[in-house]
Amino acid sequence: MSTRRTPVSPLTPRRSPLLTGLMLLFLVYTLVPLVWLILSATKTQADLFSSPGLWFGDHFAFFSNIKETLTYRDGIYLRWLANTLLYVVVGAGGATLLATAAGYGLAKYRFPGRRVVFAVVLGAVAVPGTALAVPTFLMFSNMGLTNTVWAIIIPSLISPFGLYLMWVYAADAVPQELLEAARIDGAGEIRIFFSVALRLLAPGIVTVLLFAVVSTWNNYFLPLIMLSEPKLYPLTVGLTQWSGQATGANAQPVYNLVVTGSLLTIVPLVIVFILLQRFWQSGLSAGSVKQ
């Protein structure tokens, strides 16, 4: 942020306890559900019903809950976790790679048909993802792809929004002169992309990757309709299945496992966000210097 205003005395307002107090209310609203989740994960199923929501129960069952979550039904939770990781690594990783290459190609080459690609992809940004899910299911079931990991991975590979971001980012971040220089040195186009452009695009790539990771980790609708085999479920669908167990004819409520499983599902993403925070902030400032 080169234009970031520096604290000059007449411009630096006094800190306001009133405003801070109001924002604290906001903070409480944000945190109450998370605190509730953490506290609930320490309770036995019986305590969940008998103890106040925002305090501990009679028994501290946090570790036994975790153990039970990970071992319930032969450790299906770990299987769901592994599936989620597979979908995230292949889906979000692939989506980032495709979007980066395509965004770079669109920004740095003027080939015939470029405008058509632009129009089609920009139109696609406006298509609601879930409106597409039912048609995709119908098509995939005709192709015999439903109930396989490909049914989840293939749709995750496309991120029109990621392409758009990379395109705008690449236009500014990769100087045309640098590419020309590399060409004069005799480097091929693919080699230029991997050895010159990728490094310059890194902050943008991290941003697109983060975006893709969040959307694949959170993906619920697509796996819900594509998969009928519980062994292929990601965490999101698995958890709702456990939650659904509480009602119906053969109700077997496992509320404590749903709560603990939910908490465990949140943790990796929160860690990723905090770890990558510095990256997207550097991406931000790198971009604004150019303005």
């Binding site: 306001s16 924002m23 559900p33 925002l54 080939f111 048609p135 299911f137 005709n142």
Partner: protein, 319 residues
Amino acid sequence: MAQVVAQLASRKAVRRTARRTARPPAHGRRWRSRSDTKGWIFVGPFLVVFALAFLAPIAYAAYLSLFREQAFFGTREFVGLDNYVDVFTDNKFWDGALRVLLFFVVQVPIMLGLALVAALAIDSARLYASNFFRLIIFLPYAVPGVVAVLMWGFMYGTNFGLAADVNELLGTSIAPLNKSWMLASIANIVTWEFVGYNMLIFYSALRTVPGDLYEAAAIDGAGALRTVLSIKIPALRGAIAIATIFSIIGTFQLFNEPNILRTLEPNVITTYYTPNLYAYNLSFGGQQYNYSATVAIVMGLLTMVIAYVVQLRGSREAM
């Protein structure tokens, strides 16, 4: 990522003014035609997958929407646009469509308003520990939507959960999962999930306002409120338009929240509570694939039209 989004919005504006003041040198000659078609090497892989995962399903759905299953013969009959006529006269479809429209009209302004206030407060330099506020308020974005719904769903419960505690404490009988409260309860979940994300979009846009503008305003004797109204809000126009469009798309495809809460209250949330839920239940509950595809297409078109209208209005205002 919100930062980048906001930045794109503001960068676009910067570029627009730049274009007005100075025409950039003609690019054409510098591009060597030799390497031009090589662009397909990079765009090609994306387009192949895009065609398979994006264009083909749309085309297939459009094809399906022109046919109807024959219950007795198990064959398909070409019916032209009959399915579309049916959708437009289908009370269940309109029930859901009007519900998401109501949701959009009420929830989106509240959410974006809260996000705007939070962004202005964090940007104002009047807050203690503003970085901490920013991080925590953004945190729910990292919580998977499914987990958010499960969490709130439990908390709304009158058996255990916070609703029970509140009722006991105040002697009330609030039941957030009641028919009359359900939509508001869903709106609260969505607001909780996305207010921080929108706050970050607004906050990042505010950061790109040059410092001299504030200095000039201070010299002119503008107070805090005046600065907000005359500098900050106008600077946020692009970001507000982008956040609104994202919210429209999100609202019109509302599915996760009602579908998961349906397991708690199947009598309150109907199979056609939102158009997306309707399309889903037509396919998976009723095997009416052709009609389901039609509902999906109509809903996609409606979303695009509304997003386009809002965008058009937004850009006209910005001019």
